[in-house]
């Protein structure tokens, strides 16, 4: 089976050449993941559909700026999708300025470091899913609130009525476990 990173490079090449077939393939590969993420965060299928359309419109228009040697397409798409979704929720809820790391100005930084072996976001996600199942309920809860709700640690502490230090501890230990999975590819 072709490695996703290699397939991504080919996809990016087609997108940069404004080949609609390239976008179709990118959609087939990543739209289910992005749509699931949108529905999970926004809880509205209709809005999720609109955001999927906007997401791939951005991918289409910004593909020329993306260097496949510097990162993977899937990570890029998922990062943009998550930021779009959290921004949408915060905007809808009237929450003040988003603290989500803005993907636009820092993309070059994030993707300017060439990994030794570019990972597949989908394979990576499978490992994360396995690792996540091994976390305790508190670790799961704080990471879900951070990732899917976009809450800050202080907000999570308020939500769960726990000391901020405890929240940081749960989050740190949870992330550490996930990180080790990424590095070893094995869930503990």
């Amino acid at each position: 089976m072709q490695k996703d990173s290699t397939a991504d490079a080919e996809l990016i090449d087609r997108l940069r050449r404004r080949d609609p077939e390239g976008l179709a393939k990118a959609y087939d590969r990543y739209a289910p993941l992005a749509y699931s993420l949108f529905v999970r965060i926004i809880r509205d299928e209709s809005v999720a559909e609109d955001l999927v359309q906007e997401l791939f419109f951005r991918v289409w228009n910004r593909a020329r700026d993306f260097d496949p040697a510097k990162g993977t397409l899937g990570v890029w798409i998922v990062s943009i999708a998550r930021n779009m979704a959290i921004d949408h929720v915060r905007s809808a809820q009237g929450r003040l300025q988003s603290r989500i790391r803005p993907i636009e100005p820092t993309d070059q930084l994030v993707f300017s470091y060439k990994p030794i072996e570019p990972e597949s976001v989908i394979d990576n996600a499978r490992a994360i899913k396995e690792a996540f199942s091994t976390l305790n309920p508190n670790q799961k809860r704080v990471l879900e609130l951070a990732y899917f709700e976009g809450f800050s640690q202080t907000e999570i502490a308020g939500q769960l009525q726990q000391p901020l230090g405890t929240i940081k501890s749960w989050m740190r230990s949870g992330l550490s476990k996930l990180r080790s999975v990424i590095k070893t590819g094995v869930a503990n």
Binding site: P20, L23, A24, Y27, D28, A31, P32, L33, Y35, S36, L37, V39, R40, E49, V52, Q53, F56, F57, G71, V75, V78, S79, A81, R82, I86, S98, R99, I100, R101, T106, L109, V110, Y113, P115, E119, V121, I122, N124, A125, R126, A127, I128, K129, F132, L143, A146, Y147, F148, G150, S152, Q153, T154, I156, M171, L175, S176, L178, R179, I182, K183
Partner: protein, 235 residues
């Protein structure tokens, strides 16, 4: 320390801590870039924790149509427009052709009638028994000739005849010695005031007193409604 980068990517860091990383990244710190890269991989994988949902089938088409032109629709519109335009042109041509044909038919009918009249006049003038009466010798007033034949009828040839309004016509009358005037046909003179009018009816030459012309309504009258402006005695 490593979790700071994940927290940064997740956007859950407090503003001052996030700002510190922003500034550090601006210096292209290799260490930070490596850890930030790892953090992006870790956090992006969390997307898979969402329950898997299949996007609606129509969404794929919507996405692709949003970035590509729709030639089929454009072509469809173009051809429908072209068809409508062609139909309009075709209908205009047909209408014009029908109008032209109608005009030509009218012209042919007019010429045919004129030819028949001239044939009648020639026939009538060539007969020795035809009687000729000249009228109005002076210029600038109606003048011409009236030809009478017992079998051929009456031919009125006039010059300097008056122009009449569009809702009026000239009408020729044969006036017997006894009885009411006989309507002998309506006519309109040319722009030069000329006209030839033929009345193909057998006449009793001995009973005809005069020929007269009146101005009548456009469709003509059964009996004169105005005083004749021209009376030519033929008795």
């Amino acid at each position: 320390m490593n979790d700071v980068y994940e927290l940064y990517v997740l956007g859950v860091l407090e503003p001052d801590a996030a700002q510190a990383i922003d500034e550090h990244l601006g210096d292209q710190c290799d260490y930070c870039l490596q850890h930030l890269h790892d953090a992006v991989l870790t956090t992006s994988g969390m997307a898979a924790l969402a329950e898997t949902r299949k996007p609606p089938k129509l969404l794929r088409r919507r996405v692709l149509e949003s970035v590509t032109p729709r030639p089929s629709l454009t072509a469809w519109k173009f051809w429908v427009g072209a068809l409508i335009a062609a139909s309009v042109v075709m209908l205009s041509i047909v209408a014009w052709a029908m109008q032209s044909a109608r005009t030509l038919r009218d012209q042919v009918a007019g010429l045919t009638q004129e030819r028949d009249q001239l044939q009648s006049v020639v026939t009538l003038l060539s007969k020795p028994e035809t009687k000729t009466v000249q009228f109005g010798i002076a210029d600038n007033r109606p003048h011409g000739r009236v030809f009478l034949n017992a079998n051929g009828g009456v031919v009125f040839v006039g010059t300097d005849l008056p122009q009449v309004a569009t809702d009026r016509t000239l009408e020729l009358w044969v006036i017997p010695k006894n009885g009411a005037p006989l309507a002998a046909g309506i006519f309109r003179p040319t722009a030069q005031g000329n006209s030839v009018n033929v009345w193909n009816q057998p006449v009793d030459m001995a009973q005809i007193q005069a020929v007269a012309v009146t101005v009548e309504p456009a469709q003509g009258s059964a009996k004169p409604t105005t005083q004749p402006f021209l009376v030519v005695p033929v008795g």
